[in-house]
Symmetry: C2
Subunit: 393 residues, 2 copies
C-alpha cells in the first residue's frame, strides 16, 4: 500500500425530506447571502427549488438564483455566475442539481475571489488558494462531485473539457435525498450508475500490490450496483434501491476506496473527448469506452481481471484458462450496461468512427503516453476507440 492522505470533511445529510434542512445547514457553515445555482426546469417543476427557498427563508438566509446549467457544464454560465456573485455580495453557493450543476458551482466558487480568469485553474494544476464555500442538494446519484474536490467544465470555444481538483472545493455539506432521484428518466439513472461503477473501476485497476482492503471495498460498491441498478430501471420508484445507489455513488468517489493505490483514469480521459465533441452524457460515453479499454489492457494483469470477473460478476474461475475468465468478466460488464439501457458502441452512442483521429488529437498525447494501469500511446488510444466503435455483445 502506498502512503496517502485522506480528507473528506463534507457533512452528508442523507434521506427523505432532508432538503428542508438546507437553511439551517447554510447557516451552520457560515452562509448569509446565497447563490442558488440549479440546472434545468425539473428542480422548478418538482417543487424542489421552492422547498429549498422556503428552508432558506425560514433560516433568515437571503439568496439570488441562477439556473440553466447544462450537462457538460459550460464556462459561459460560470462567468455569468461569478459576475452575479460579485454584484450581489454572495458568500455561499448552494448547488441544486446533479454533477454538472455542482461542477459549475465549483467553477463559480473559485472564480469569485480570484482576480484573473477562472479557466486558469482548469487542466493546468494551478493550486486553488481561495473559494467560496459550497453546499449541495444532489438530484442525480452519479458524479460524486457532492463529496469531492473535483470539477470538470467544458470551454465552449473548441468544446475543451478540462478539470481541477482541490480540498478548497469540497462541499461543506451535501444533502442526499434519494426521493429526488425517483423522477429521473431510466436513461439518466443508468448513465449515473455507469459513472459510479466507472469511478470504482478507475481505482480498482491498479499496479499497487497488496491492497486487499480497498480492493474489497471497491468490489462492495460494484456488487451493490450490479444488484440495485436493474431494480431502479425496472421500478423508478424503488426508494430503497435508489438509496443504496446514492450512498454507493458518494463512497465511490470521495476516495475512501481508492487511497494508497495507483489509479488509472484513462477511460475518463478518453470519454471526456467523446462527450466534449458530441455533447453526449458522460455515463453513456463511459459505457462505450470503458469495456473497450478493458479489452485492450486486460493482458497486463489477467489475475486482476479474473478477480473482477469472479468477485463482482460471479463468474466461475477457469483455472485451465484464466484469460477466458478475464474476458468473460468484461463481457458480463458490457452485457450489464446493455441491459440497463446504455449504448455499447459508437453507433448507439451517436459517435462516428471517422472522428477517431480528431478524438485522439484532442487528447494531446503527441509522441508521449498517458500514464495509468497501462501507459497508452496515441496508437493505443486509437485502438481503444476503434474497439469501442465496433463493440457488440
Amino acid at each position: 500500500m502506498d502512503n496517502f492522505s485522506f480528507y473528506s470533511p463534507t457533512e452528508f445529510v442523507f434521506g427523505k425530506g432532508q432538503e428542508n434542512n438546507c437553511g439551517a445547514l447554510v447557516k451552520k457553515y457560515g452562509g448569509s447571502r446565497v447563490l442558488i445555482h440549479y440546472g434545468g426546469g425539473s428542480a422548478v417543476r418538482s417543487g424542489l427549488l421552492d422547498r429549498v427557498k422556503a428552508s432558506l427563508d425560514a433560516a433568515g438566509v437571503t439568496y439570488v438564483t441562477l439556473g440553466g446549467v447544462q450537462p457538460n457544464p459550460r464556462d459561459t454560465l460560470i462567468y455569468k455566475g461569478i459576475e452575479l456573485c460579485r454584484k450581489e455580495n454572495v458568500d455561499f453557493i448552494l448547488s441544486v442539481g446533479g454533477g454538472s450543476c455542482i461542477d459549475s458551482s465549483k467553477g463559480i466558487a473559485l472564480g469569485v475571489p480570484y482576480d484573473g480568469d477562472f479557466w486558469d485553474f482548469y487542466g493546468t494544476g494551478k493550486p486553488v488558494e481561495k473559494a467560496l464555500p459550497i453546499g449541495t442538494v444532489l438530484t442525480i446519484a452519479a458524479a460524486g462531485s457532492e463529496g469531492s474536490g473535483a470539477s470538470v467544465v467544458t470551454k465552449e470555444e473548441g468544446m475543451l473539457k478540462r478539470d481541477v481538483g482541490s480540498d478548497m472545493l469540497r462541499p461543506r455539506f451535501s444533502v442526499l435525498n434519494p426521493e429526488l432521484t425517483q423522477t429521473l428518466p431510466p436513461y439518466q439513472t443508468a448513465c449515473g450508475a455507469t459513472d459510479i461503477m466507472a469511478h470504482v473501476f478507475e481505482r480498482y485497476f491498479t499496479n499497487t500490490p497488496e491492497v486487499e482492503i480497498t480492493d474489497r471495498l471497491c468490489e462492495a460498491i460494484l456488487i451493490t450496483m450490479v444488484k440495485e441498478t436493474p431494480r431502479v430501471i425496472e421500478n423508478p420508484d424503488n426508494y430503497e434501491a435508489r438509496a443504496n445507489i446514492m450512498w454507493a455513488g458518494t463512497v465511490a468517489h470521495n476516495d475512501i476506496v481508492g487511497v494508497g493505490r495507483s489509479q488509472d483514469w484513462n477511460s475518463h480521459g478518453l470519454e471526456h473527448e467523446l462527450s466534449g465533441l458530441y455533447d453526449v452524457a458522460h455515463g453513456a460515453g463511459l459505457a462505450v469506452v470503458m469495456p473497450a479499454w478493458m479489452e485492450f489492457v486486460y493482458k497486463h494483469n489477467i489475475n486482476r481481471f479474473c478477480q473482477m470477473a469472479t468477485r463482482v460478476f460471479g463468474c466461475q474461475m477457469n483455472f485451465e484458462n484464466p484469460e477466458a475468465t478475464a474476458l468473460q468478466g468484461i463481457k458480463c460488464f458490457r452485457k450489464f450496461l446493455h441491459e440497463i439501457g446504455m449504448p455499447i458502441n459508437f453507433e448507439e452512442l451517436g459517435a462516428k468512427a471517422e472522428d477517431i483521429p480528431v478524438l485522439v488529437e484532442k487528447l494531446g498525447i503527441g509522441d508521449g503516453t498517458r500514464g495509468g494501469f497501462v501507459s497508452l500511446t496515441a496508437a493505443d488510444v486509437t485502438e481503444i476507440y476503434t474497439i469501442a466503435s465496433k463493440a457488440t455483445l
Copy 2:
C-alpha cells in the same frame, strides 16, 4: 435505509514515516502549545516519542508530556492531565498510542474547558459543547478512536466503564503508520483485530432492511481481516498486511459502513463489564462474548447469519437446513479467533462463572431491556455470559 448524517472531518495521514509530519500537522490545525499524551514505555523505547518531539521542535511548537496511560484508561490520569493542561496553557493535545491513550486524551480535551467534573459527560448523554483540539499518532490498529468522536474511560472507584460521544472529540488529524504496529506482541495484535471485526459486526447485525451497500462494505472489512490477520500473527513484520488491517480499523469505526441502519452494540456493552471487572484486554473480552451473543440471538434472523457465513467465512449455503449454515458461520468465527490466539471462554480469558451475577448487576438492566438487534433482559444477558463461560471449539 434510515435517514442519517455522516461527518468525518479527520485528516488521515497514512504510511511509512508519517509521524515525522506531526509538527506541521499540529501547526496546520492551530496548535502552538501541546500536551503529548502517551502510554507506557514502548513509545519511549522505540524512539517514537523522540521522533514526535523532533517534529514538533522543527515546527517551532512547544510541548509538555504526560505518560502512563493504561489499557482501559482511568479517570485518575485524566484529572492529572486536565490540571497539567490548565497550568501549562496547552491548546492542543497530541495523543501517541492506542485506543486507550486516545480515549484518555479525549477525556482531557473535554475536561480542560469545562468548569465541573469531566466525568459528568460519561454515560450520561450530556452534550459536549467545547473541547481542546486533538491529533493522534496511532500505535495499535484496533479501537477506531483515531477517527471517531467516542471515548471510553474507567472510573477507578468501582471500576465503572462508561462512554461519551461527540463530533467535538473527533481528532483533527490522525497519523497512521503501520510500521509503528510491527513491534506489537501477537496477542495485542490479535486483540486489535478482534476489536475491528467486532466494530463491524455491531453494525452488521441490524433490523433495518435493504442496506446492501453498507452490508457489502461491512463484509469487505471482515473478509480483509480474515485474510490479513493470520498473516501478521505469523509474521509480525509484514508491513502490507499491517497496512491493510490499519486502514480497515479506521474505516470500520468512522461509521461510513454503519450509517442508515440500526446497530447493536450489546457485545461491546457486555464486554465492558468484563474488562472493567478483570482488567483484561477489550479485544480478548470481545472474543469471548461476541460469538456467545451470536449463538444466543441468531434465530432472530437466520438469513442474516447465513449471509455472514457464506459471504465472510466462505461457507456453503445449506438450503435444506439454513440454521446449520448460520451456526457454522458462528463456529468459523470462534475458530478464527482461537487460531489467532484469542481466548474463547471464561477460563481462557481469566474470568469466573461465579461472577456472572455481578457482571449482570453492573450492566444495570433491572427489569428493563438493552435494545439492539435483539432486546436483552437481565436473564438473556445471564444466558449469554453463561454460554461465553463454557464455550468450546
